[in-house]
């Protein structure tokens, strides 16, 4: 009952060692998970029906030509040998080369992941902030018009297919509102003709190479970050405008879920004895709800946000397709269809690593938000 009031005290006593042990244990647990992922992804890619040669060269490709193709990409080796080569390459940080596009998977990652990260974080920020706000408003005014409207909206949001919502948003904001100040672009990352100056150019590092080049290019491809830190304001505005519709489409389902979870969790907490005590102390309703209620109701919301972040990273295929964005999800989908093993393996592994890291952060945040967890 008194737990919420012990939080600040526990920060200064026993917080660091307990949290360190907790974090260390969680980090160590991720290692076997990642090893398992490497095995499973490699195996699943090979189990997929279909021939990479026919997928790449077409259905009329002769067996002789396919033999050459397999030899060139090492697909003629026994599966265990292929796996050994894959592990060896992986240990050197080499994710392989795309069969279908002939470019290193790491290059594709540098090109595609920044878009996915921007879109995901933009969408999740929207979903989390609005979802929590609406959930709190609905719980604080239970059975009011606000509550009903929020829950009806949340149900609509969950049940509307992203495909339909995306096209509807484009139709309204790009076609119907075309000649108004509210017009928004229907897709892509930048308006045709607007170009972003890479960080290497802005910073005079065009001769840079190696891993650092990859890092700089990666951040360079995060258009919002790049334009922000290099002061390309026109590009920043354009990139932001291009992110709005896909982010709204992508955010709708997690927003609805977060709003519902926040509401139900907060309602549960607001019925607790310590809330009654807080009210009895004469605290304002706003302070009771936000300070004492929301803090204790937020744990399941954080869980949902973490899960949403993971699924949004590689699961935004439909949104990316509608808005003509080539992020991780669409790239992996294309690679599966093309039986492009290297890309499927590489990008899935990276997605899994991100997912594991996000879950790690969520787990750690549990310890931060609820002292009982870290003390256990």
């Amino acid at each position: 009952m008194a737990a919420p009031f012990r939080v600040s005290a526990s920060r200064s006593s026993g917080y660091t060692p307990a949290m360190l042990r907790f974090i260390t244990r969680r980090v160590l647990l991720t290692i076997p998970v990642l090893i398992g992922i490497v095995f499973v992804v490699f195996a699943v890619a090979r189990i997929l029906p279909g021939d990479p040669c026919k997928a790449a060269l077409g259905e009329r490709a002769t067996e002789a030509r396919c033999a050459l193709f397999r030899e060139r990409f090492g697909l003629d080796e026994p599966i265990p040998v292929q796996f050994g080569i894959y592990l060896s390459d992986l240990s050197r940080g080499d994710l392989g080369t795309s069969i279908s596009q002939g470019v290193p998977v790491s290059d594709m990652l540098v090109q595609r992941l920044p878009l996915t990260l921007e879109l995901t974080f933009f969408a999740l920020a929207l979903a989390a902030s609005l979802g929590i706000l609406l959930g709190v408003a609905a719980a604080a005014r239970r059975n009011s018009a606000v509550d009903v409207a929020t829950m009806v909206g949340a149900n609509l949001g969950i049940s509307t297919p992203v495909f339909v919502l995306g096209l509807l948003l484009i139709f309204i904001f790009a076609v119907v509102l075309r000649d108004t100040p509210f017009v928004l672009p229907p897709g892509g990352r930048l308006t045709a003709g607007v170009t972003i100056i890479p960080l290497t150019e802005s910073w005079g590092l065009t001769e840079l190479e190696g891993p650092l080049r990859i890092v700089v290019d990666f951040f360079s491809n995060m258009y919002l970050l790049n334009s922000l830190i290099t002061g390309q304001w026109e590009v920043l505005g354009d990139a932001l405008r291009h992110l709005i519709l896909p982010a709204v489409a992508l955010a709708t389902i997690p927003l609805s879920i977060i709003a519902r979870i926040t509401r139900s969790s907060l309602l549960d907490v607001l019925g607790q004895d310590y809330i009654r005590t807080a009210r009895a102390k004469g605290l304002s309703e706003q302070r009771v709800v936000l300070r004492h209620g929301l803090r204790n109701a937020i744990l399941p919301v954080v869980t949902v946000i973490g899960l949403s972040l993971g699924s949004l990273l590689a699961g935004a295929v439909l949104t990316e397709s509608i808005f003509g964005l080539t992020g991780l999800g669409r790239t992996i989908t294309d690679a599966v269809l093309a039986r492009d093993y290297a890309v499927v393996q590489g990008l899935t592994l990276v997605t899994a690593v991100i997912y594991v890291l996000v879950n790690l952060i969520v787990d750690i945040s549990y310890g931060y938000l609820d002292p009982r967890i870290r003390l256990q």
């Binding site: 029906p49 279909g50 021939d51 026919k54 790449a56 060269l57 077409g58 259905e59 009329r60 490709a61 002789a64 030509r65 033999a67 050459l68 193709f69 060139r72 069969i99 596009q101 002939g102 470019v103 290059d107 090109q111 595609r112 878009l115 995306g166 096209l167 484009i170 139709f171 790009a174 076609v175 075309r178 017009v183 229907p186 897709g187 892509g188 990352r189 930048l190 308006t191 045709a192 003709g193 170009t195 960080l199 910073w203 590092l205 065009t206 001769e207 840079l208 190479e209 190696g210 650092l212 080049r213 890092v215 700089v216 951040f219 830190i229 397709s321 509608i322 808005f323 003509g324 080539t326």
Partner: protein, 563 residues
Amino acid sequence: MQRWRTFSILVALGLVVAACTTTSTSQEPSGSAEPSTPESMAPFVATSYPADGPADCAYGGEFSQITAVDEFTVRFDLCYPDPAFLAKIAFTANAINDTAWLEANMVNHLILARPNGTGPYKFKEYVRGDHITLEKFDGYWGDAAIAQEVIFQWNSEAAARLLALQAGTVDGIDNPGTDDFPVIEGDANLALEPREALNVFYVGITNTYAPWDNELVRQAVGLGIDRQRIVDNFYPAGSTVADYFSPAALAYASEGAAWPDFDPTAAKAKLAEAGFPDGFDTTIFYRDVVRSYLPTPGLVAADIQNQLLVNLNIRADIVVQDSGTFIDNSSQGLLNGLHLLGWGADYPDTSNFLDYHFNNPANLQFGTIDSSVSDAIAAGGQTLDPAARAAAYGDANTALVETVPMIPIAHGGSGAAFRADVAGAHSSPLGNEYFAVMDPGGRSTMVWMQNSYPISLYCADETDGETLRVCEQVMEALYSYSIGGTDAVPQLAEECVGNDDLTSFTCTLRQGVSFHDGSHFDANDVVASYAVQWDAAHPLHIGRTGSFEYFAAFFAQFLNAPE
């Protein structure tokens, strides 16, 4: 906020400091093409391939030797006559590269991302996953491009492409959805350009199985399927009933007898005459793969099943096979029944349709082809004389109607759409819309949205239309296809003349042509561009996959192909 600001500064500082300690080298190519080697000032030395004399034609391919006769003359010596030679060399996969560019950029794969052609547009940038920008080439030998830049974007969703066009963020789109054709036609701000089909969907019959070995049975089925109904119900606007096996856009395609009209009464009579008044049991095989010639395979299979039952009392089971299995089984003649298959043009010549299917001993999908068909097709492939070719292919078409190795059903159409103010807008049967002649309403940039991204920009080793379309703006071949059409017309060659038996073609090249990097075009570039594709043992026979599919499809076999 304060934490974020501090973090941002630290990240930026870290990157700068780390970068300053690093040395430099190459990077992913971008920007306009730069010369890879200095322009040679040495006198022209003519080359030939193979350098030591003609190849032994026993290797099975079409070329015997390619010779730079002088700086602006090239001779192709062939192992067998080829009346479609000009149509083949006009294809984008046979575009000409600068010799030095090939040598400098093939082994390191830079050529995949950095094309250097002679076309009206030159490559500017490829932002993978987003767009490609081409810019006007001021040194172009022909009529200058109208728009200063062409930007290629892509979106796999037809509805999203149309919305982008309606929103005015793009000037043209490829392949609007079939349901969107009326929407485009009804919008004064848009213009629809239907694309003539260069494909065919047919019902194949393997005549080595009873009762399909009976010509009357095949003729009965040929009469008993309502092809118009199939086109009306399952094909997009712009599609047509196939009166001939080859699409009407091709020369000589519509010579001879057309396929007879649907006539269920005559069909039943034929079947009774064949000894099957009560029909029989059979199987319809297909693969569930969408193609422009067969956009709804399952529905069409079910409709044909229904038509056979209603019109002829033929009871057919439907068997769906994996695509690879189906193709293998059909080409080996293992499908006892009817099979649903089609063909899209590799190059715009009737021989590409008729030869592969009906004069090709390796293709057993129709069982035994009657000599009246194969002989006529062979005759059409021995001459460039239009009258003789027309007569030969007319005989072949008539023989197909009589012997019914298959039933041609449809030519599947598609289209492109543009903003109404785009002057010079057109669609091409080959999908090679030529943007240099389009004026995007006075705007400086023409923005085109297609279904997908280009895989690489070295199109000798690419096959998909989305990739080839980009190359077609940048690269040029000895011949090209007429704008919006299929006729082979001179491009980098002023003309190519064949000898009497069509086993040698001599091309006179255009003079004063420059590549985008400033190097000059000559006959050795032609020899080199073909040699890297032709010879599997050539050190530059690399490309993206190394398969050079179109070269193999056009010219039969690689020199020094591995066993």
